[in-house]
């Protein structure tokens, strides 16, 4: 890597503050904590003054800290298959063992913040519902959510109306838990901040189009924190303005994230959280920069519109990449490959995440034959390192970079 992104210091401070606030809110009887799925209706929760905690972010931290693999067996022992979402199983394992990576951020935080309500959107997978339902049973708190459609080809107005009505139906139970009425202006404000955050995050990711790219997918996995955890919170705006300015300065200076960038790749699917650094170093050592990803782009919600909060939240949920058909995903990937001028695509086939493993229905072959796009499949997992073979992954990536270099000659 050619120099650490300086904004990382601000990021760490911001994320630590957010986690402390969650911890404090859970200890304060006058405040309400909501757990929300990462692409759930967070703006509604912000508008009702909930402090929001994201279990998926927590699970990613379990993965990145390499705590997850040792915790998953505790969930397996309770009947959660080793083949279902390892975010869920590692998080349940952490709950059973009463450990959290938040303690590494701040030792005064000893547990996840106890929720008053759990709110999901099942557009990403069914596992999130099972995951939240586990906590609903364990903690005796209500679990409510939205069953947005999956496999969407056309986001029709009928679908939008159906999902929007489900989001509206959350208002009443959430008001009862929050002990206050929803202020429409507060909701519009939260949607506006989310939209602005999303626009800035999109601009950050678009910096990857530059030659050389000033950031990689691996950087994105870290810097997306506020786009997830602080969506709808004005502090995220401040952070992304700073990050964007830094990346634009890097572009102006011709400073790439990978020294001597000679191959550009695109990542599809989940990160391998416990090998983020290793894979970043491996590819950087080969002169390969992973300049874009469907994963980081999944927190770009250009649909959000403060003038139509419910409908636009529904549209964002329906048009989420993970919730689309393979035909749409294929079109998106082909467009992204052109936009980022990549030599090829790395498909991560995550064993426990079929919903975000997009190489299982022939897409790599179709992209190769139809668009001339080369790709490689990496078999691993998001959080369960028992499913990751370092040597095999290394060989696949090195061989793919060699193939890309050969194609450039």
């Amino acid at each position: 890597m050619s120099g650490r992104i300086e904004s990382t210091t601000l990021l760490q401070s911001l994320m630590a503050t957010a986690f402390r606030e969650c911890d404090a809110a859970a200890r304060d009887p006058s405040r309400r904590v909501a757990w929300c799925s990462s692409v759930g209706p967070v703006e509604l929760l912000r508008a009702l003054d909930f402090t929001v905690f994201f279990p998926e972010n927590h699970a990613a931290m379990l993965g990145a800290s390499r705590m997850s693999t040792g915790l998953i067996p505790f969930a397996n022992a309770e009947g959660f298959s080793p083949e279902v979402c390892s975010y869920m199983t590692s998080d349940i394992g952490a709950f059973r063992r009463n450990v959290t990576p938040l303690s590494r951020v701040d030792p005064s935080i000893t547990s996840v913040p106890k929720p008053d309500v759990l709110v999901y959107d099942s557009n990403q997978c069914r596992d999130v519902v099972d995951w939240f339902s586990f906590y609903g049973r364990e903690l005796g708190v209500p679990v409510i959510g939205v069953a947005a459609p999956r496999g969407v080809q056309e986001p029709t107005e009928d679908l939008v109306a159906a999902v929007a009505s489900q989001i509206r139906a959350l208002v009443s139970p959430l008001e009862a838990i929050a002990g206050r009425r929803l202020d429409p202006d507060r909701l519009r404000e939260a949607v506006a901040v989310s939209r602005d955050t999303s626009d800035l995050w999109r601009s950050v990711l678009s910096c990857g189009e530059a030659l050389p790219s000033p950031l990689t997918f691996f950087d994105g996995c870290i810097h997306m924190g506020p786009a997830v955890v602080l969506r709808g919170d004005p502090r995220a705006l401040e952070y992304y303005r700073a990050l964007l300015a830094e990346l634009q300065a890097r572009i102006a200076a011709g400073q790439g994230a990978v020294s001597g960038e000679r191959v550009r790749l695109y990542w599809d699917g989940m990160p391998v959280w416990g090998r983020l650094r290793d894979l970043s170093d491996l590819l950087a050592g080969l002169g390969a920069s992973v300049v874009g990803s469907t994963y980081c782009s999944s927190w770009v919600f250009g649909q959000l519109d403060p003038d139509e909060p419910f409908d636009s939240m529904a549209r964002a949920a329906i048009e989420l990449f993970i919730a689309r058909t393979d035909a749409v995903k294929e079109m998106v990937l082909a467009g992204e490959a052109l936009r980022y001028r990549v030599d090829g695509i790395v498909f991560h086939d995550a064993k426990t995440c079929p919903n975000n493993s997009n190489c299982r229905y022939g897409m790599p072959a179709r992209l190769r034959e139809g668009k001339g796009l080369a790709s490689v499949i990496v078999h691993s997992d998001l959080n369960d390192l028992r499913l990751h073979a370092d040597e095999g992954v290394r060989l696949a990536l090195e061989a793919f970079v060699e193939q890309c270099l050969e194609a450039r000659r």
């Binding site: 490689v376 073979a389 095999g392 061989a399 193939q403």
Partner: protein
């Protein structure tokens, strides 16, 4: 001035191989050893084997490319390249046509697709599983109380291959026990073991058309594995003269290319 040589060393998971090419790219020597636990040592031993076979090469090896799982442990290598690229280089050198190369290695199986110009267009590797690899054959041989060579000899006498329903190595071993207990001829069981490998490889990529090249230690010309592949695919499968040395040959060819010994 003595002629220079080019060396390729393939430190694989089960066996390590080395090839020495002369200045004109001609095959000068090859060597094979079990890898064991010390990758650096086996590489040195292979190097010595080559020098014993070709004394003129001493102090005259211009470049050495290391490949295979232990490529980083070959201290005398001038560069390191993956076995996928080495395999591609060797197959193009040997056959010079669009082809699909299947390398049944000790720990993994790779399928590499070369286009009309010799450029690699795709490659596949087996998943985190030993099925379809040399390790599968070794495990099954051990369960049948024989060696890999003994397994091939048994399979060579088989007439009616017993289908193995499981692709999982551990479960397949259990299945062998059931078949033995049921009194199925061990020769037919051994033949079924080879078919299990073939089925696993065939599902990795579309092999319905085009030229197929088979390499790796189990791919002996005229051997059982080649025959079972041909039966499954319904056409001839090409096998290099020294199938176990193909990747090392590719490494030596790339060493030569790096040293600009070849255009």
């Amino acid at each position: 001035m003595n002629a220079c040589f080019y060396c390729g060393v393939d430190v694989g998971s089960s066996y390590s191989k080395a090839v020495l090419l002369d200045a004109s790219g001609g095959f000068a020597a090859g060597a094979i050893r079990r890898t064991g636990l010390d990758f650096a040592r086996v590489a040195m031993e292979l190097h010595q084997d080559l020098l014993v076979a070709v004394p003129d090469a001493r102090d005259n090896v211009a470049r050495t490319v290391a490949t295979g799982y232990g490529r980083d442990n070959v201290a005398f290598a001038t560069s390191r390249i993956t076995e996928v690229s080495c395999q591609a280089a060797a197959c193009w050198h040997l056959f010079h046509q669009a082809l699909t190369a299947i390398d049944v290695g000790g720990q993994d199986t790779k399928i590499i697709v070369l286009g009309e110009t010799g450029r690699r267009t795709d490659f596949r590797m087996n998943r985190r599983c030993a099925s379809g690899t040399g390790a599968f054959l070794e495990e099954m041989a051990a369960r049948l109380d024989t060696t890999p060579d003994g397994l091939e000899a048994l399979a060579g006498r088989g007439r009616d291959a017993v289908p193995l329903s499981s692709f999982c190595t551990v479960f397949a071993k259990g299945e062998l026990l059931s078949l033995i207990r049921a009194g199925r001829p061990v020769e037919d069981i051994a033949l079924g073991v080879y078919d299990a490998v073939v089925r696993r490889v065939v599902e990795m990529a579309s092999l319905q058309s085009g030229t197929i090249v088979l390499t790796g230690g189990a791919a002996r010309p005229g051997g059982v594995l080649v025959g079972r592949f041909e039966a499954a695919l319904g056409r001839q499968v090409l096998v290099p003269d020294r199938p176990q040395l193909t990747v090392a040959l590719g490494a030596a060819l790339l060493a030569m290319r790096e040293g600009e010994g070849v255009p």
